[in-house]
Amino acid sequence: MTVAVNTEETGKKIAEAIPGSVVSSEAGSLTVDSKSLAQVSEFLKNTPGLEFDYLTVLTAVDYLHYFEVVYRLVSLKNNQSLILKTRVYGRENPTVPSVTDTWRAAYYQEREIFDLLGIKFEGHPNLKRLLLWEGFNGHPLRRDYL
Amino acid sequence: MKFERYGTGIVKGMALTLKHLFRAPITVQYPDEKLNISRRTRGNELVWFPEKCTGCGTCTKACLQGNIILVTHRGEESKFIVDKFELDSGRCIFCGLCVESCPYNALAMGLSYECAKYSRKDLVLSKERLAVSNDHQPSAYYRPQFDDQLPDQSLLLYDRDKGGQKLKFLPLSKRKRGSGA
């Protein structure tokens, strides 16, 4: 059984290592500050006891006044999972650091989010539209796209 | 990569294809021979029973294509009278959700599967076209009451069994060689 790790404990661990990164760690998911995402992802991947080496779903949700980027991490070794979230505000040019260096699984998913929701991923090697063509106007999965 | 089996793998494979040379072909020559389709088939041309329909419009809400057009007016005893019941089978995706949602068993999926028409206009099915007729029968999808009237499905699984359920072919209309249709 893949066990969801206790987010509060993990949140404490991360907060110790990278101060000011954890925004909330309510039951079920862990929300981190988008600025420290790169460090947090490195920490989650390399810390013994966590070792989240396997990124499954990476998606984003448009809550109109902010975007929430969701990462579901799995540790194949310890058979545990964690839902990591980060929030990004503003609709014009939302930017989140890319995690492709840590997990290459994010490569296409970040491109897809950029394509459909218009969130930029800083540090992504090839941030182009994935499903729609270059020059498409707008980002269809935003709630205000008609 | 080393060749260590001296070609025995190739010989085995060739033996198998040779064995298949003497097996019966699985082809069913469609317009001439027709297999019995499933009794629950979600076939073409919805069947609509006007006497059961109350005009409630559940099916129109259930359709994810927004494809069913239903126009009613109030008749005597404030019952709905259906003026127009129409759907475009060119846009229908045959999901069967309308049949599933109908609380009065007034809809059923059709049994036919030859949907080609010569013009797009013919694809729009009106009230008259949707009613039951000789060549327009309901299937048993979500309507188990029709189940007994329909012929058994011909399963390829029982193809060459002795004594089992044989492949059943629908009666051939005049079989013409080489006509193709």
Binding site: - | M1, K2, E4, Y6, M14, L21, R23
Partner: protein, 370 residues
């Protein structure tokens, strides 16, 4: 004395002018051969489609005519009625000539194929060398088609074709030399007449090499890299349609017929056989060889280009050389009457060599080095 020579003699005695005596039999003979070849090619197309579908538990074409025998004609009519499309960026002249250059040499091969006793257009004393020489010309045609189409897939196909044809020519020729050593002649008629025992028994290894080599020469599975449907779509004839495509299509089956005929002549004792008339024996044997080719096509996957090359150079070529040396020694040492000893010796040799070479033969992990 061939049938044509007899025909000439008849005309001469009838008092025809000298030019007509030479020209009439030649034209009649050529017409007969072309008609025969085209008919058999049509039968071949039908036979391949029917047989391969039975290997694949399908029915195959069965609508046109009895058992679908007229399907190739229907296909031909369809192809001929199609628009002839020439790509804008194609090299028009080369694109136009290429199908002819592919098709004509294949017809030329039939000049020296003996269909029966004396039923040969011309009994060249270098018959088999002529076949090898003429059939190599189609490679140029294929390359021209590949280049002239201006399509990148056909470029790849053209490059593959040159490499493949040139490599496989060598083992094929070497295995033929083995036969020439036994018969002492390159003439096709002489070769057939020398086969009291079919050469497939006398030289099993030579047959294997020639068969595999000719499979590669006529681009049949598992060496059908030129057309590789799943990789380079249709290879060199990707940009052809209409009549030009029909030329390639006929050429493909024509070369299959030609090589089946040559294999029959060289290794299966040609038209010889008891009871039935010679021409029937010839056709039966050709059909058998062609059915074997179809059977292989129905079963085997395709080799990769570097594996194909290493198969030719590392497997077939050394074996062909050893085979040649062994046959030469046997012909020198053994008296002519002791051919059965040669059969046993050669079968043993073939088995040992194949086992040995299978152990030694590697494909280098499939990486780039060829």
């Amino acid at each position: 004395m061939t049938l044509l020579d007899q025909f000439q003699l008849i005309l001469k005695t009838a008092g025809w002018p000298e030019w007509a005596v030479y020209l009439t039999p030649a034209i009649v003979g050529i017409l007969i051969i072309i008609i025969f070849v085209l008919t058999v090619v049509i039968v071949f197309i039908w036979w391949e489609r029917r047989l391969i579908s039975r290997f694949q538990i399908r029915l195959g074409p069965n609508r046109c005519g009895p058992e679908g025998i007229l399907q190739p004609i229907a296909t031909a009519v369809k192809i001929l009625l199609k628009e002839d499309i020439v790509p804008e960026k194609a090299d028009k002249l080369i694109h136009f000539i290429a199908p002819i250059i592919v098709f004509v040499p294949i017809l030329l091969i039939f000049a020296v194929v003996p269909f029966g006793e004396g039923a040969i257009l011309v009994d060249l004393n270098v018959g088999i060398i002529y076949v090898i020489a003429i059939s190599s010309i189609s490679v140029i045609g294929i390359f021209m088609a590949a280049w002239g189409s201006g399509n990148k897939y056909s470029y790849i196909s053209g490059m593959r074709s040159i490499a493949q044809m040139v490599s496989y020519e060598i083992p094929v020729v070497l295995s033929i030399v083995g036969i020439a050593l036994v018969t002492g002649s390159f003439s096709m008629i002489k070769i057939v007449e020398a086969q009291s025992i079919p050469f497939i028994l006398l030289q099993p290894l030579g047959f294997l090499i020639f068969f595999l080599g000719s499979l590669a020469e006529m681009n049949r599975s598992p060496f059908d890299l030129l057309e590789a449907d799943s990789e380079i779509v249709a290879g060199y004839h990707i940009e052809y349609s209409g009549m030009k495509f029909a030329m390639f299509y006929l050429g493909e089956y024509g070369v299959a017929l030609a090589y089946s005929g040559i294999i029959t002549t060289l290794f299966l004792s040609g038209w010889q056989g008891p009871l039935l008339p010679p021409i029937l024996w010839f056709i039966i044997k050709v059909m058998l060889v062609f059915s074997l080719i179809i059977w292989m096509r129905a079963t085997l996957p395709r080799l990769r280009v570097d594996q194909l090359m290493s198969f030719a150079w590392k497997f077939l070529l050394p074996m062909a050389v050893i085979n040649l040396v062994v046959v030469a020694v046997e012909v020198l040492v053994l008296p002519a009457g002791l051919q059965w000893v040669m059969v046993i010796l050669n079968f043993g040799l073939a088995a040992v060599l194949i086992l040995l070479w299978s152990k030694l033969f590697t494909l280098g992990g499939g990486r780039v080095e060829v």
